[in-house]
Amino acid sequence: MRRTLPGRKPLGTQNRTLWFWVFVGPFALGLVLFTYVPLAWSVYLSFFDAHNTVSPTDFVGFDNYTSMLRNEAFTGSLVTFAVFSAFIVPTTFVLSLALALMVNRMHRAQAFFRSVFFLPAACSYVVAALIWKLSIFNGVRFGLANTVLGWFGADQIAWLSTTEPPWYWLVIVTLRLWLQAGFYMILFLAGLQRISPTLYEAAAVDGARPGWQVLRHVTLPQLRATSIAVTLLLVINAFQAFDEFYNLLSDSQGYPPYARPPLVYLYYTALGQEQNLGFGSAGAVILALVIAVVTVGQARWFGLGGKEDRQR
């Protein structure tokens, strides 16, 4: 039963509706104005020849879509990001889980190490990319990585400018791991701390050996929900890669064709000098569909939203 102070009216249905809209309204309005309207407009533009205009008149049907799917630069960028995702998702997953397990076991200074590993997540992608590009992995003799190689008599490496071997992947991957592993570690830590100690005690009583056996049969199954969430976030994040690629590899004259994720290509097509907004919009719609299909497929594969999940 609701208790009210003497002389005050209970919170009525009318006021609840009002306060709901006061709090939710601005965000809903922002969502509609800045997400759904541009999204719908982008789909509209994708059916028009829209060079240097957002109010086109020349309807071209699916021409932009077919041209985009035949465009080697775009399909090449899709392959690039697929390879990138296939590598970066499991690597970040394993690294952040390992960090979480390590920090979770610490009895002393746990808060300190948790903060140390999480701190890079607060760093801007742009700043981190410039540090990686200009100080650590520049291609001249006074770059940090080349200085270290020089101690061992090795030749200088132009990290971001050579394609054989593709050293630029080392730069991109280390940057992303440094920026992201701490954030996912926190998610895993939260998951680990929700596991009841009695499960480990029961496992010990049943004779499970600490280490791999406990990890495999107790910890990992208990982290299932967290693992699914982390994997989904990692995949979406990898598909949306832009900042570090753009800042590491672009220059005033453009962007090299290797290591070009789709968003960078679409940025140059639609918003750069090309200003081909219809063609770029078609690419954006294709990319959004690819992300949606992969995400839904992945959720199905994990059984997310299935009977087992509903029972939890």
């Binding site: 240097n52 205009t53 630069a73 520049n138 001249v140 971001l160 005033s252 000098q273």
Partner: protein
Amino acid sequence: MTISRRTLLGTGAALGLLTACGSNTGRGGGGSGGKGPRLAQWYHQYGEAGTEQAVKRYAAAYEKADVQVQWRPGNYDEQTAAALLTDSGPDVFEVNGPSLDQIRKGQVVDLTDLFDGVKDDFDPAVLAPKTYDGKIWAIPQVVDMHLLYYRKSLLDDAGVEPPRSLAALVDAAKALTTKKVKGLFLGNDGGAGALGITPLYAAGLESVTEDGEVGFDDPAAARALGRLRQLYADKSLLLGAPSDWSDPSAFTQELTAMQWCGLWALPAVREALGDDFGVLALPPEGSGGRPALPVGSYGAAVNARSDHKEEAKDFLKWLWIDRTEYQEDFALSYGFHIPARLSLAKKADKLKEGPAEDAVRYSTEYGYAQPLLWTPASRTAYQDALSRIIKSGANPESELRSVMREVRAELARVKKKR
């Protein structure tokens, strides 16, 4: 649901605050101090100290309008392209173009009548890319160009002559490469972006002909691009420098013996190296080749969506056609550029000595301007192919065939009736 007056007022105030957060373009309905309408004028951020103060001084001296200068750092070309799609763009703006699509979509105003009586005094090389359908769409401000800088003492020590052919450039770069100094710097991408189509012109070809056809359907094109691959394969190229080709730091800090850079870098190079440097155009490829270097120009244009188009044209005529002393000051007092007006370029003392004199001569003898028909889509396809040739050793002939297909499709698009 009943909305009270207080709720309505609060919501109105919040929405008012939101709308007040729009971007300030400098445009307004009327000027202050009785100077006529307010005009917003945009410039990209120049690196040379004093340029911003100079253009604000010119604007303040204009009597018939209140000109508000905006100095815009960042990706200026993208900013202006996006602003031209809206009603909140500038009235007059500096443009690295305008592009063919900007002209065809009617985003800029025809300025042909401003050139009455003075057209012949503008450098034809930079006026040509501002001209389409017989009309002029921007006023060239200054002439800029790219050059090959070389360090005389390093060439002398290595017994190398300034290269007179692309093959000699490959040999020279190899001979000049040591453990500490590389022979040549063409940009961190190996030259795909900075050199662009210049090797085609060095081979005696063109990107797009005057008739609007592909201008490099010739084996000489593949040979010229193959030279760039050779430079990369010989490990003669500096790659991964902290500052890219447009900054002379790699050259002045002795990371490289030769560098492709802009005329704008000449004062900084002279300050660092004294007379120990010379300049060249990109040397020719083969018997049909010729030295080549690109010349280009930022232009001043009027936004077709401006409410004050006539006033904006009057202002541009006053600034970039009538007031020649400002043009001279803008070109020569801060950075280092050639005035776009031939009469001003001829009398500029700074351009009559040493490497600067050579540069001016090269610009008239060997300079080419990027044609309007060489659109961004063609440029991207070509640069991607060039990058694959240089860095991955892709076959130049097949890469160029693929580029030609894309360029022909793009030319067919822009030739279509609007």
